[in-house]
Every structure is written in structure tokens, then in C-alpha cells.
Amino acid sequence: MLSQLQMQAILDMALSKGGDFAELFFEDTHENSVIGKSADIKKISSVHIYGAGIYVLSGTSSAYVYTNQLSYANLIKAAKKAAALLPILKKAGKQSVQLCMEQYPTPNPIQMKPSTVSMKEKVELVKESSTMAGGLSPYIQSMEATYFDKEQQIIVVNSEGLLTTDHRVSSRLRFSGVVENHLGVDSFWGDYTRAAGFEAYHNPELYRNVARELVNSTLIGLEGKSIKSGVYPVVMEAGACGTLWHEACGHPLESVAISENSSEFVGMLGKRVASDKVTLVDDGTIQGMYGSAAIDDEGAQTRKNILIEDGILKGYLCDRLGGRRLGMESTGNGRRQSYAYAPVARMTNTYLAAGNDEEDEMIGSIDRGIFVKSIGGGYGGREFSLEVQEGYFIEHGKITSPIKGLTLTGKGMDVITKIDRVGKNLVPEGGSFCGASSGLCSVTSYQPRIRISEMQIGGEC
């Protein structure tokens, strides 16, 4: 490991051609995966990700050099390269200041680090869970369980004197397979995710429920009928249907989208962008959540950011550079998949705050509409789309038969101004991955049950 003086020398080299800020990001990550099908363990692999990135800013220009050759000599060379890549060449820029260690408490304390658990125990877990899941329905043609663990150690050092570290652990059990009955065949996959160590598996009922829901949802999908095109009220269930907010608002509120003018929320700070029932929060500090950490990947302490309050746009999500481009400070959202990416503003745990409306009334008061129970994934930008994994017709105030092949699309602001009910019961979700320009980051997106008074739905004519 480098000494503090060596780190400072690297930062000074990075600033030597006129940069006004420099940062070193070190990463040492271990991951394991075990794939099994009932009693058969098909594959086991161990991965070691190891490298560092040197980031230099000059105003709103940046240079980023990354490598996995971490000797002092190589890192000085990399820093020199980063300095030379900056567009502005001056004699010398700022000098770094003396480093001072800052340490923040983690919202995700770990009881059993995966590195302390034997491979034998992990293999037993995969055998047990894949056998269990394979027995959930006679219509299952194949079922695999894949165990993943990750232990990431990062060190962030910057020219403002910050020296900080974080140790992050996550656990994941993926169920994937194929179901087939007289109605057809379909494949599925879904994750049980926890920002925790091996203690995540101490209550088997938790991951069994995930497998059960997945299989049932896929089988129900085979019964689905198509919907006719039209305008419908849509009720979205509490929990992971919060992906709506991730795709419809979250991505368009990230500083990259705002600074590149590719978001409908540009210029809307302080203005009404949603119904007054909408308060949207992004919070990287929540205990036990998949998107939480002590610090972001630029060393800034994570925080709670209110994005929309009672329908009024309050803020954007910024990393350091994104904030500079907007004339704002970082909001503690600079994140990246690994050292192989420069940090970019990304979501953490994004949720719609609970409201005051009765959940049963949302459905009971609809004559003809749609109930979305779960969402598979989606895409966000100027327009968003969501794959409905499990959706139902609402007829005369009751949830009736399943709908197949339903995709919800629309413009974010159009939809969120039509939220006319927000339930009282905020339900969190386990978490998943979000992909964007700084790679895949762990996030959660959740909500109480909500109703959208009307959405244009594409269907059969």
C-alpha cells in the first residue's frame, strides 16, 4: 500500500499541468459465484478486481486514467498522463493539501463477511435453494440458483485533503429457469438481494418467497390476455413498482441528463412537475438498503436528497463534475461500477414518500383499469418504458384476469402529474442493478401503492 506522501505526490503530478482538482480511487474487490441445479453444482468462480483511477478536473473538463498496475512508479506515470490529457496546459496548477482521514459510519454493518464463510457452506446454500425452488411447481422445466457475493474495499484520496475508505458487502441469490404448461413456455429470472453478508441467508423463508413469487408470476403470465389500446387508470402496487420513479424521473434528474439538455426537467427547479401528492426522495444513508453506503465513490458522505416535494422540483442529483457543469455542489451521488469508470451522478435508494390515501379504494373506485403487481425492468430518458411482469385487468372495482405483453411507456412529467392517489404504506424492495455511463450500480426503487388517473396504453386494436 502507498504511503500518504506517495499519494500526495501522485495528486501533485496529476495537477502539474493546470488542473484544479485531482482524485485517486483505489479498489480491491473480491467476488464469488456458485451456480447450481438441484444437487448439481455446475460452476464455481472467484474473481479479484484490483485497480486504481486518477481523475483530474480543470473547470468542467476532465481527464481520467485507470490501470491495474499499482506500483508507485506506474501511478506517477498514470498521473503524468492524466495531467497531459487535460486540454488546458499551464505551468503548474494547484498543489494538493495535506491528507486528513475522514471515516463515516456504514449504514450496512456486516455480521458475516463472505470471505469468512467456507465454499462448502455456499455450495450447500445453492443446493438447498435450487432444490427448493425446483419443487415449487410441477410446471418447472428447469431451475438454477446462482449465489453471488461481493466484498469491495475502496480508498478515495483527493487534492482537497480528503482521505477516506469504505468497505461494502453485498449478497445475492438468483433464481432462473423455464416453466411450461399447456398454455406455453416462458423463461424467468429474479434476484434475492441484500446489502449484507452471509447472514442474509439465515432466514430461508425470505429467499424462498422470492423464488415462489417469481415462479407464480411467470405461470400467471402464461394465462394472460392482451389488452385493447386505450386510456386507462393504472394502479401500481407498493414495493418494487417504484421502478417507475427510477425510469420516469430518476435518470432525467441526474446531472448528466440536465447538463446535456436531454431531460424534460431542465429549467424546472422550483416549478410544479408532478401532482401535489408526489414527494420523491433519493437517500443513500438508509440502513440495510442495497443502494446505501457510507460514502459515494468520490468520498462524499451520502445523504438524503429531496428531489420533488409536494409536486415541486427541488433538486437534481450531482456528482462533483456534474455539479460544476450546473453550478451546483455534489449531492453525494458520484458513483461507479468500479475503478474502470469515472464517477457520474447516479441514484441510490429512490422512493416515493408515503401519502394518505386508502389502498383498497384505489382499486375499488375504478370501473375499467389496470393493476400492475410487478415490473421486470425498464428504460429511462426523455421518455420511459417499463416491462410489466405481472399485470391484471381491473373490472368494476375488482382485480380480475392477467394481462400479457404489457409495456408502459410515456413521458415522465406527463405521468407523474396524473398521480391522484398515494397509499399510506411505503414498502421497500431488495434491490437490483441500474446501468448507465458509469457502469452497473446497486440501487433500490420503491413506493407505496399509487394510482395514475390515466395512461395511454398500447394494445390490440
Binding site: 464455481i44 472467484s46 479479484h48 476532465s62 491495474n68 428447469s142 411507456t409 410515456g410 446497486s442
Partner: protein, 458 residues
């Protein structure tokens, strides 16, 4: 470019008794990226990352990967071996020096060799980006914001194993991507175009700018759309997006696991006679080159669909043996987007494409007469189910009357089943377009397609 596997070679020749055979693949990836944004350099990135992937076999095969180049090779081999001790099933076959690649390739089939990208090279990339930006704003004055990304990706791969395989290659490709925001009327629209080339000099600046212009104009002033079943021309960009999932139906892995809609249809007619789909080790247009794969299998070109007939599969060594077919050089590790380092020994394409035909897209629109021109598709990861074949893809398009563009239509969805879509391809365009998967694991391409009986809702 060098990845030093000498220590690994020594250890592979002196394996402990319990390790019957082992293999190490060293991959060095060198990237340079220049971003020009709204008239100035937004950012420059440079990287050099080496990864060592090891598999070791006792009775079964286990895996270990590292980016810590100071790790003792024997420790990594041992870790892979210890992982194997918990496994069931068969061991993974390794090539011998007779069957696997031995040798060094330091240029592409047409002679392009990889030189280091130094200061001059980066200056060239910056100049190109600025030149494109200037042309963009001159030709499309309504562009308010733009970002031009020019990237050079150089890969070197060295595979060695305890049975004598020792293969090395280097390759490079360049990509140029434009994203632009234009203000037209009262609204802002996003446009994008992309090109992939073996040498920067081959980039067609005018083409890439015309494509951005078209992608913007195709969205302008959208109107109401009536859902129905239509004839449609699927633009090359729209089909390319679909190819990110579609290629999996031709993977031998999915075929054997019965997770492909075409499992069981090998040898049958699965598409119209206009359709031929191939996967090639080298594409001189895009520059993507893999003369051998992660296991040292020779990169053979494979025809997957010939005039509508399903005639080939993409294999790794294991699936080739299981299917009693020739290896094709399709062993890979990154089928999908995953967090962390790709570590799954699976099957991936190299340069997979629907082969182009002879018609321009204008001719396809004229042939169609009345219908819809689908210009963009989204959400490639969730919108197509390769097992059931069902798709429900959000997209944008233009309503076509008498072969001419009449009105833009946004917030559309095309839906159906891949089986029927393939059978309803009437004609294939001559405008082959190629893109690179996010992780760089493979290139994929398609021309525009004229199809019938497509359910489109809006």
C-alpha cells in the same frame, strides 16, 4: 502490447498431481476516449487493464480470475482447482496443441497492425471530434447541445494451457458516437448515430451526421397513431438494438438448455428466404477481430441461417462436442451486462449480422407503400424473451404513405413473436450497420428490414 504469461506457462508445465490440466488467458485492454462537448474538450480517458483468467481441472473444472498481477500464478491455479472440488458434472475440455491455436497474430487479415496511441494519435482523435462537431452544427443549425465521443479500443489476448496451446493476438477498432439535442418547434429532441471502423481514416463523417439529422427529423412534430397490424420497415438502428438479445437464439448453450425459441428447430425453415445470418471472426468494416476465442478455438466463420434455413449454431468447445459439430470459436464470458468482471464461460458471437440485401431504405419504403417506418427501439434487455419468442418493444417511428414520410409517431410499441417476425421479412436493405456491445464482448449488426403483419400500438 505484452501480457507476461511466462510464469503461468512454467507453472502449467509443472502442475501438482491433483491438477490434471489447466489454462490461463491473459487479456490486456487499452482504451483511449475523447469527448468533445459543445465546442470544447469535455473529457479524455486513457486506460490499460490486464486480467488473467484461469481454469483448472481435477475431476471437474473450476475458475478464478484476477486483476492483481502480483498474485502468484500457482495460487490462482490452486484456487481454481479448489473451486472445482465442490462441483459435479463433467469437466470442461481443453484444446491440445493439435486442435487449439498456436502462434501470434499482430495484424488483421487485411494487414492493419496495432501501434500505440500516443500524443499524436490522441491529437488526431481530438481533431476528428472537433471536425465532426463543426460539421454537425453547420449542417443541423437547430442542434443546441452535442457530444462527440471518439474511442480507440485495443485488445491483446494470450491463451496458454498445459496441453501445449499458446496463442496470441492483437486487434483494434475505433468507434465514433454522436448524441445531439435539437430544438425544433417548442420541443427538444434527442438524436444519435454511431460508427465502428478498423482505421479512423475510414470513418464517413457525412454519413454519421446525416444519420443524426434523420434521427432528429424522424421525431419532429409527432401526431396521433392508430394501433393496428401494419407493414413496416424496421430501420437498421432499430434492428441492431434487437440483435443484442436476438443473437442468443443461435447460441448452442441456449439451444441445449432449451431456452431458445428455436430449440428443436435446427435444420428447419425459421425465416423467409431473404434471411441469411452469419457470425464471423473478422469484419473488415467494423474492425472487430477475434482470430481465436478464450479457449484457443480457431475463429471459424459460421452461417447460422441460410436463406431462411436454420443451419448453424455458435459453439464453445464443450457445446461443439455435445452437438458433435465443429468448433466455431465462440467461447466468451460476457453474454449479458453483469456487475463485476465477466466470469461465465459461455457462448458469445464475434461479428453477428443479418446479411444485407440490395435495396436502399428508400426503395424499401417505396416497395412498402403505406405502413410504418420504425426508426428507434428501446429497452433491449427486457423487451424480448428469447425462450418464448414474445417481444413487446417500445419504439418510435414515422407513418409512411405512398412510400413517403408523412408524420412522426412516438410512444409506439411493436409486439409479437420472433418466429412470426422472421417469417414475415419480405426484403432486406443494403445499409448494414454495426455496433459494439457495452462490454466490448462482441459486435452485432443488421441492415433495415421490410416486414409484414406487425402489430404496432400507440
Amino acid at each position: 502490447m505484452l501480457i507476461n504469461l511466462q510464469e503461468y506457462k512454467k507453472k502449467l508445465n509443472k502442475l501438482p498431481a491433483e491438477v490434471k490440466e489447466a489454462e490461463a488467458e491473459g487479456r490486456l485492454e487499452d482504451k483511449v476516449k475523447v469527448v468533445v462537448r459543445d465546442g470544447s474538450i469535455g473529457g479524455v480517458e486513457s486506460s490499460e487493464v490486464a486480467t488473467i483468467a484461469v481454469r483448472a481441472t481435477g475431476e471437474r473444472t473450476g475458475y478464478a480470475f484476477t486483476q492483481d498481477l502480483s498474485e502468484n500464478p500457482m495460487d490462482l491455479i490452486r484456487m481454481a482447482y479448489e473451486n472445482s472440488c465442490y462441483m459435479n458434472g463433467e469437466k470442461q475440455p481443453l484444446h491440445s496443441s493439435e486442435t487449439g491455436f498456436c502462434g501470434a497474430i499482430t495484424s488483421t487479415p487485411r494487414g492493419t497492425s496495432v501501434q500505440e496511441i500516443n500524443g499524436d494519435g490522441i491529437t488526431k482523435m481530438k481533431e476528428l471530434a472537433f471536425s465532426i462537431e463543426e460539421l454537425l452544427h453547420t449542417q443541423i443549425p437547430m442542434v443546441s447541445n452535442s457530444e462527440i465521443i471518439v474511442e480507440a479500443v485495443t485488445t491483446a489476448s494470450h491463451v496458454v494451457n498445459s496441453k501445449g496451446v499458446d496463442g496470441y493476438y492483437e486487434s483494434r477498432y475505433y468507434t465514433v458516437e454522436i448524441t445531439a439535442v435539437a430544438t425544433m418547434g417548442e420541443h427538444n429532441y434527442n438524436g444519435r448515430s454511431f460508427q465502428m471502423v478498423e482505421c479512423l481514416e475510414e470513418l464517413k463523417e457525412n454519413t454519421i451526421i446525416e444519420e443524426v439529422e434523420q434521427s432528429l427529423l424522424n421525431q419532429f412534430n409527432p401526431g396521433e397513431f392508430t394501433s393496428g397490424v401494419y407493414e413496416a420497415v424496421l430501420d437498421k438502428y432499430a434492428v441492431c438494438n434487437m440483435m443484442i438479445t436476438l443473437w442468443k437464439v443461435f447460441s448452442a448453450k441456449h439451444h441445449l438448455e432449451a431456452t431458445s425459441i428455436f430449440s428443436g428447430a435446427y435444420g428447419s425453415k425459421i425465416a423467409s428466404e431473404t434471411v441469411t445470418i452469419v457470425d464471423q471472426a473478422y469484419d473488415e468494416k467494423s474492425g472487430y477481430y477475434r482470430p481465436f476465442d478464450y479457449e484457443g478455438s480457431y475463429g471459424n466463420d459460421v452461417t447460422l441461417v441460410r436463406k431462411g434455413q436454420f443451419v448453424g449454431l455458435m459453439h464453445n468447445y464443450k457445446t461443439a462436442m455435445e452437438c458433435n459439430e465443429e468448433v466455431t470459436g465462440n467461447a466468451g464470458r460476457a453474454e449479458s451486462l453483469i456487475a463485476g468482471m465477466p466470469s461465465d464461460y459461455t457462448v458469445v458471437p464475434r461479428n453477428i449480422r443479418i446479411c444485407p440485401g440490395n435495396r436502399s431504405v428508400e426503395e424499401l419504403l417505396t416497395m412498402m407503400g403505406d405502413g410504418v417506418y420504425i426508426t428507434e427501439t428501446y429497452d433491449q434487455f427486457h423487451s424480448i424473451n428469447q425462450t418464448s419468442g414474445e417481444f413487446s418493444i417500445p419504439c418510435k417511428g414515422v407513418i409512411i404513405k405512398n412510400g413517403k414520410k408523412e408524420m412522426a409517431a412516438n410512444a409506439l410499441t411493436i409486439s409479437g413473436n420472433i418466429k412470426e417476425l422472421f417469417q414475415h421479412i419480405v426484403e432486406i436493405g443494403n445499409d448494414l450497420h454495426t455496433e459494439i456491445f457495452f462490454t466490448g464482448a462482441y459486435a452485432y449488426g443488421s441492415p433495415s428490414l421490410y416486414v409484414t403483419d406487425l402489430q404496432i400500438t400507440g
